[in-house]
């Protein structure tokens, strides 16, 4: 669906390693953008990008970095009910 011009700085986007974060430049857009490539993407260009990144085509993949926020600091409401 999109034509890749280049991609770089791959970083794992989850602990399972099924998501690889990259900075990509698609021919269809004027600017670079962050992209989360996954093996389960419904878009073929996303899966293709994941496979190429996993194969090391865009360089070594940096380890996953978990977010810094904790559950105690997440937004909460009073009286909420589980769905």
């Amino acid at each position: 669906m999109f034509t890749l011009e280049y991609a770089n700085t791959p970083v794992y986007g989850n602990a399972e390693g099924t998501n690889i974060q990259l900075i990509v430049k698609w021919a269809e857009f004027n600017e670079e953008m962050p992209f989360g490539a996954t093996s389960y993407d419904s878009m073929p260009h996303g899966v293709a990008l994941y496979n190429r990144a996993a194969a090391g085509e865009f360089g070594p993949i940096a380890p996953y970095v978990a977010p810094t926020f904790s559950a105690n600091n997440q937004p909460a409401t009073t009286g909420s009910q589980d769905l």
């Binding site: 989850n14 990259l22 962050p34 993407d41 977010p67």
Partner: protein
């Protein structure tokens, strides 16, 4: 006697004889009318008669006095064979026998003949007549072909056409002739055949330098075209349309480009790491977009499944809580 050249031949003079009767003074007809008394010698009974003794009128000789009687006693001897009009044999006179002055005279005559009305003038009529039978084999066409044999642009016939078109192209004689040539059947006419031949090699842009193709290319500059098929991509249905039809906005496939999702993302309060309208990658790390899921301690939502978004997402709007580090929102997949 030996001679050099053709063998000489002798031609006998013509002699007319008449019989006198002592009363008749005028005798006729002579074989030919003498140019004068010096052209004949007249004898009566073998005696030469001086020119003053007779007169001539056409083919009649009249004596001053009637010759005596006698059979064939009057002899009129023609002193030459006279002259006759020499007519060259058909097709025996060639142009090389004519002088340059003669050419000039003929051209002037043609120019004068064409001064009035071209189509009705004598010279044009003559050409039309000459071409009546078979164009390619007629004399006039052969002459034009010969005139153009050397250098086309510099030949006399081409120069004449160029001159004819100098004034007003559309009204000039040469253009009128081409227009007439194309009147009947365009594809079969001579002028169109020539254009067709010129374009035989290729009609692509490589040959645009040729005049005919350049003209066609310029004619197509406006960019008129026809749409033959309209397909539908993600978020649209109703295609492929090849004639008429209706496109409908469809619900995009989950996680496809153009789809929307309720998301959660990191938010660090005043620092504003995530901004509505900006693009972020889908993922579970810092400053990344995750699918809407939450722990059951938050907001009445309960976490369900795993983050299943991919690609690049743009935050459309968000709901933040002061002091919290994460927020909810809606995002649209960009790529």
């Amino acid at each position: 006697m030996a001679i050099i050249g053709n063998t000489t031949t002798s031609v006998p003079f013509i002699a007319d004889s008449f019989s006198g009767n002592a009363s008749t003074t005028a005798f006729s007809p002579l074989t030919r009318a003498p140019a004068g008394t010096a052209a004949i010698a007249v004898f009566i009974a073998g005696v030469y008669q001086a020119p003053g003794t007779y007169t001539l009128s056409g083919v009649t000789i009249t004596f001053a006095s009637a010759p005596a009687s006698g059979v064939g006693n009057i002899i009129v001897l023609h002193l030459g064979n006279g002259s006759a009009t020499q007519v060259p044999s058909d097709g025996s006179v060639t142009t090389i026998k004519l002088s340059n002055d003669t050419y000039g005279y003929i051209n002037a005559a043609f120019a004068t003949a064409n001064t009035g009305t071209a189509s009705g003038s004598y010279a044009n009529s003559a050409f039309a007549t000459a071409n009546t039978g078979t164009a390619a084999g007629s004399y006039a066409n052969s002459a034009f072909a010969t005139a153009n044999t050397g250098s086309a642009s510099g030949s006399y016939a081409n120069s004449a056409f160029a001159t004819a078109n100098t004034g007003s192209a559309s009204g000039s004689y040469a253009n009128s002739a081409f227009a007439t040539a194309n009147t009947g059947s365009a594809s079969g006419s001579y002028a169109n055949s020539a254009f067709s031949t010129a374009n035989t090699t290729s009609t692509n842009v490589t040959n645009a330098s040729t005049y005919a193709n350049s003209a066609f290319a310029k004619a197509n500059t406006a960019g008129v075209g026809t749409v033959t098929s309209v397909a539908t991509g993600n978020g649209l249905s109703g295609g492929t349309i090849t004639s008429t039809g209706t496109l409908v906005v469809a619900c995009p496939t989950h996680n496809s480009v153009g789809s929307y999702a309720s998301v959660m993302f990191e938010w660090t309060g005043a620092s504003g790491n995530n901004t509505a309208g900006s693009n972020y990658a889908a993922g579970a790390g810092s400053k990344q977009i995750q699918g809407a899921k939450w722990q059951d301690t938050c907001c009445g939502f309960k976490q369900r499944g795993t983050n299943n978004l991919s690609g690049t997402w743009k935050i459309m709007f968000d709901v933040n809580y002061a002091g919290a580090q994460a927020a909810f929102g809606v995002a649209c997949r960009v790529s």
